[in-house]
Amino acid sequence: MTAGRRSPATLVVAGFAATAVAVVALTGPELATGSPTAPVGLPFDVPSAAHPLGTDAIGRDVLSRVLHGGRTVLLLSAGATLSAGLLGAALGILAGLAGTRAGEIVVRVVDVVAVVPALLVLLVLAAGLPGSDLAVLAGVTLVSLPFSVRVVRAATRSVAVSGFVEVARARGDSRWQVVRHDILPNVAGTVLAETGVRFSAAVHLCATAGFLGLGRGAPAANWGRMVSENAAGLSLNMWPVLVPALLLVVFTVAVNLLADDLAVRWGEA
């Protein structure tokens, strides 16, 4: 796994970038001085001293909207990743330890969910529960879950046939004991790396949900939705599209690098 090792400099930059974006997103609403929803000027006005990033499609201050628009995306994707990660680990380990037939059934059920396009799941849930962030959370969790289950099950199966698991089972250790001491620590590296990938996907999906106007509706700010709202005025003022898009990209790439490294370190510790 030496290939997974990044240089320390890369990791410091990634750590700094991820933290910076997270701070902007989480504390932004407190830092913002202006209202994210009140029109303050002409649409797509270029940056000025009063409005450093200009104004958006209906003349609102872009800086205020950027500061207000990250929290939802980040919290939703973190929440969805966490719940998909936990559920996926639990189901994956159960399926991995269950007999071949029971495990296959779980995987088939999970496959049924996996073949439904992610956006379709999101749209259906959002249609059922209009304007609800919870629907986005549930949707993103649901589409992330199948991948987690499959990866964790495969990792579990390879650990489950090793000598130390056989010895523990022959000794009569309870299933929970085996999971806690033998399975979990040995699949944790895989779960960590996998969760990193899922998190990027979740950020992407939550932003897409915002872009499509799902979740808590207008006029609330949302980095994903800002891109769609202001795409038409890209030639007049690019900042309301570029800034939220850049923040999302930097954040997902940085988190991925960090999660990969964490998984490698776990394997070596």
Partner: protein, 489 residues
């Protein structure tokens, strides 16, 4: 044909990232075109580290401190060079070659993918594997260890590598297959330059053009000859009572649709050592797993005359305590994420109900019993050598004070010297603790030295069964004769 060497290692020094004794130091090697270079030395002498450097690979925690490795003109320690080498110039087969097979894909699929324009039959033919069509539909875990190893060879050779790196190709194989693999390697050697890491003296002397002996990471010249098969017998204890510790009658077990164990009757007298020998795939390991309740079976298993339930979970705690499994493979037998302390504490708490401070005292006693310093309790298996891991493996089984130890190929991954030390320890434990031992092995030297009786298995049946002296002196069955013959070469 060029006379330029395929690989050149110059002044290579590799050591732990945080400093400390070098794993390989100031090593110089030249692998001639089509030549065979053997690296020999004890466990931990740096053989594998040196061999892996030919692929530009360093195990996690190691760093190159100096020197260079060039293979076929590529610098192995540049990212581009390493990638180019691994893409086809160098083929590597690790100690447990069968583990390189993808466990979730059929053998046929894996072979077909590697074969490219050639046919799967051609690949299999090159490694002398005669199989039916059903074989290709199987998954790696459904074939014997020897067959899986041959398939791994076939895959490694499919890309016509310039250099073949073999890490302990004969470790973990029974005598018949070892002979087969030796022949196979001898045949392949005319075609590909090879670096052979081995502690199999017969293999090395049969095929190597040059032998480099490593000790503590340094090259030392002379290789001390070592006689593997010695028939010296350990002192034999007279059995006091003829109580049957463990017996099986009419034991039959299946793997899917194939019968792995067919109607086996066996019994082990208390305090004795019964050896189970037989070729790969003869059902030895399945039999062991049945005895400890890990594999479903028909028939009966009895402990001290009491018939026990088939599954471990349905046996009483006392019955589970009586028989302990000492698992195969010194690596997979211990949980890599668990310290020695935890590994020993779990059985103490679970089957003996020991709490602090009694548990800690017992752990220290157990480590002392297997001759490991008490400081080892804090270590994880990654920081133990193969022999040390096997001692911990033994200590874990001893923790619950069992009557019977089921040792499944406990020396197969160790060099001869370390393996002997582990077996001597086992003999001593047997003597001191009055343990009954079932020793699964393919090594007849071990059988001759340690066992009282021997059962020879073939295709899931016991084909010969009796006192060691009688069976080895006058082998009746063709399989026994093959094993004895292979061990004698």
């Amino acid at each position: 044909m060029s006379t330029e060497p395929v690989a050149r290692v110059s002044d290579l020094t590799i050591g732990p990232v945080g400093g400390g004794a070098a794993t390989v130091s100031g090593l110089n090697l030249t692998v001639p075109n089509r030549g065979v270079l053997a690296l020999v030395g004890r466990s931990g002498s740096g053989k594998t580290t040196a061999a892996l450097s030919l692929l530009g690979h360093l195990r996690p925690g190691l760093v190159r401190r100096g020197g260079a490795v060039h293979v076929a003109g590529q610098d192995a320690f540049t990212p581009g060079g390493a990638a180019a080498l691994r893409a086809g110039t160098v083929a590597y087969l690790p100690q447990d070659a069968a583990a390189t097979l993808n466990p979730s894909r059929r053998l046929g699929t894996q072979l077909a993918e590697a074969a490219g324009p050639r046919s799967v039959a051609e690949l299999l033919d090159a490694v002398h594997l005669n199989v039916d069509r059903g074989f290709l539909r199987r998954y790696p875990h459904q074939v014997s260890g020897g067959q899986a190893q041959r398939v791994a060879f076939a895959l490694a050779l499919a890309r016509d590598p310039r250099l073949l790196v073999l890490d302990e190709p004969t470790a973990g194989l029974d005598a018949v297959l070892v002979r087969g693999i030796r022949d196979l390697i001898a045949e392949l050697l005319g075609r590909t330059a090879t670096v052979l890491v081995s502690h199999d003296p017969e293999l090395v002397s049969a095929v190597a053009d040059e032998v480099v002996v490593l000790e503590a990471g340094r090259r030392v010249e002379a290789a001390p000859p070592r006689r593997v098969l010695s028939r010296t017998r350990g002192a034999r204890r007279a059995t006091v009572s003829p109580e049957i510790a463990l017996s099986a009658s009419g034991l039959t077990a299946r793997h899917g649709r194939t019968t792995a164990v067919a109607g086996i009757d066996l019994s082990v007298i208390s305090g004795e050592c019964l050896a189970l020998v037989g070729p790969s795939g003869s059902g030895k390991s399945t039999l062991a797993r049945c005895l400890v309740g890990l594999h479903p079976y028909r028939g009966e298993v009895a402990l001290r005359g009491t018939v026990v339930a088939g599954a471990a979970a349905r046996r009483t705690a006392e019955q589970r305590r009586q028989v302990q499994l000492v698992a195969q493979h010194s690596v997979g037998a211990l949980n890599p994420r668990e310290t020695v302390d935890t590994a020993l504490r779990r059985p103490l708490r679970h089957l003996r109900g020991l709490a602090e401070p009694a548990a800690s005292a017992e752990i220290a006693r157990l480590l002392d019993r297997v001759r490991l310093p008490s400081g080892y309790a804090r270590r994880r298996p990654g920081r133990l050598s193969g022999g040390e891991r096997q001692r911990v493996n033994l200590a874990r089984a001893l923790a619950v004070r069992p009557d019977v130890l089921l040792c499944d190929e406990v020396t197969s991954a160790l060099d001869a010297h370390t393996g002997d030390a582990v077996l001597d320890l086992l003999a001593e434990l047997r003597h001191d603790l009055g343990l009954t031992v079932v020793l699964i092995t393919h090594d007849l030297a071990t059988v001759a030295r340690h066992a009282d009786s021997v059962a020879v298995l073939d295709a899931g049946r016991v084909v010969e069964y009796g006192p060691v002296d009688a069976v080895l002196a006058a082998p009746d069955h063709v399989v026994t004769r093959a094993l004895v013959g292979a061990a004698g070469t």
